[in-house]
Symmetry: none
Subunit: 353 residues, 2 copies
């Protein structure tokens, strides 16, 4: 069993977390290590639910903040294990988001007497379909565990504050045809060829940009999967392209769906996954106070993050974590050592003064 040492510095701890493989749905080992390490901290109450761990102070403070991070990563891409080089820690999950998890774990270990009560949440399955998401499960089944006045999701945000998040919707665009032997293809109708206009529309699509609360959100429409084919000598009768639409938070899921129906008019769409965006909500007091304490200009969040889960529970939330999100899910995933130290000390200061 892997173990982690909460007396290590934040870089060593991040590297140790990266070196515990934890692709979505394979989080048992990392969750066990986190549970074991947090179990040694007697100022925290621990709850485990699946591979999701909640650790809380109960000091009776006037305010409670939730600090959350997911334990899973996308599949490895020749970037496992970690490697430290020139002040940058490289490796799968270093940016998204084991650096943030390391910061949260060290806050839990080092700030035994915070001025605000804290609920730490380390959860599973953020990188895959929403139904598996550990934070979502808590929000549905045990929302009292997520209670708070403000939430910080430690997703990579370039060590700045990112507010709101875009929604995401995945649809399958399906074409049908008629099978035939490839040697007599005129007897059939090729469903893969019928995808040509779908790919052409995707290729020429111009994504929208929207300004909300002074932040500019940039949308995206991408094929994330394509499949079709029966056998090497058969004209295929079905083909599917899976499209992911990332939409600005001024659009509801219903409006996003409507837009996709317009883009792919003439083709059959099936929604396979959907999550709403979150408006930045920077006008709420708890959010505004945190932003002032960090002292950085907020930016819009592009990726869908679980900020939206908190928004739906009525809890103001921001992203604030180490790492440039541009490296998330990339082969050269990385986090600057300086970010890890800076985010940790900023939050330590905010929780103690």
């Amino acid at each position: 069993m892997a173990t982690i040492d909460l007396t290590s510095d934040v870089v060593t701890l991040t590297a140790a977390l990266v070196d515990i493989a934890s692709e979505s749905l394979s989080e048992q080992e990392i969750a066990d290590a986190v549970e074991e390490a947090l179990g040694r901290l007697h100022h925290l109450e621990l709850v485990r639910d699946g591979h999701t761990i909640v650790a809380r102070t109960s000091l009776g403070r006037g305010e409670r903040v939730v600090i959350a991070g997911h334990l899973d990563t996308v599949p490895a891409n020749a970037n496992f294990p970690s490697r430290l080089e020139d002040g940058v820690l490289h490796g799968l999950g270093s940016c998204d988001m084991k650096g943030g998890v390391a910061v949260a774990l060290l806050l839990a270990a080092t700030v035994a007497d915070p001025v605000r009560d804290v609920t730490y949440v380390f959860y599973e399955a953020e990188e895959i379909a929403a139904e598996f998401n550990g934070l979502g499960r808590l929000a549905r089944e045990r929302p009292e565990l997520l209670d708070g006045d403000f939430a910080i999701l430690m997703e990579p945000s370039d060590a700045g504050v990112e507010a709101g998040c875009q929604g995401t919707m995945r649809v399958d665009v399906r074409t049908t045809g008629e099978r035939a032997h490839a040697a007599r293809s005129w007897a059939g109708s090729n469903a893969i060829h019928a995808l040509a206009p779908v790919l052409a529309r995707l290729d020429s699509y111009a994504p929208r940009q929207v300004e909300i609360d002074g932040l500019t959100y940039r949308e995206g429409l991408n094929a994330v999967g394509i499949r079709g084919g029966v056998a090497g000598n058969v004209v295929p009768d079905e083909a599917v392209v899976t499209v992911n639409y990332r939409f600005a938070p001024d659009r509801s899921e219903a409006e996003a769906h409507q837009h996709l129906q317009e883009v792919f008019e003439g083709f059959g769409l099936t929604i396979t996954d959907s999550a709403p965006g979150a408006l930045p909500g920077l006008s709420r007091p708890a959010a505004a106070e945190f932003v002032a304490a960090v002292g950085a200009e907020p930016r819009p969040k592009f990726g869908w993050t679980d900020v939206a889960q908190f928004t739906q529970l009525g809890i103001p939330a921001v992203n604030y974590g180490p790492g440039d999100p541009v490296y998330a899910h990339k082969a050269d995933e990385q986090v600057p050592v300086e970010h890890l130290h800076r985010v940790l000390s900023t939050l330590q200061k905010w929780l103690t003064t």
Copy 2:
């Protein structure tokens, strides 16, 4: 052990052959039955090689004809065993090609003194990858067993003469891009979107039609598979479409490849499978005489068949067998009783006059 009776009529014999299961690579039982039955015919010399059986007359005639059929079938599809109904024999392999095998076995049994020497070949593993093909193995290792002036492959041809066959080439057309998180898709480059022009060219492709020896060959260019995608939230960095080109026999494999390079100019191609076509060769005397004897208008063969194996050995060859090839590999596979009788009597007459 199954046995077959070469004193039965051609319909009974076809049904008996259908009732011996012989999916590719499981031909032992049917090959044993064929060997045992042919072994009783003292006018034939027998050679067995694996589950492939060669039986020859050696009468010193001026001309030798090869009559060949494969013993294997594709997997059953709720169409086993045989069933005779309203003048049609139904069942797995009835069309492709146990009807033809039954005709050849009855020729071997009933024409003891042909005017042309005959080499009968009953071979294994035609329905799977070329490396297993029993006829191909003989052609490589014991080509003397296939010597002849003319060959008749008893593949289903609707009881007509089909000449030549088209070549087939499969290529992978690959696009590459750069991975990125789908929420920040502008940081990456989408390999699936990059397939748009490939599908557009396939969709608008006008296949060539070529006339050779009075037969019109109709080509085809089809996507038979498409794949791409890393995860539901990742801009994919690779996508592949597998294309099958069926080309008329006036084109060599090299020319077919050259054509595909022109069609997909700007994209990387990898050949994954290739087999040459066979020119109809109807101008050769042996072929022309056979066609005249059968008295039917020859047609072009679209699917690739082992006719090409004989062509490569320099032996003119045609397909001539009972059954409409449209029923090959289908759940409702069938052969008309009338075809079985007609093809048998035509060949009996041709071998005796």
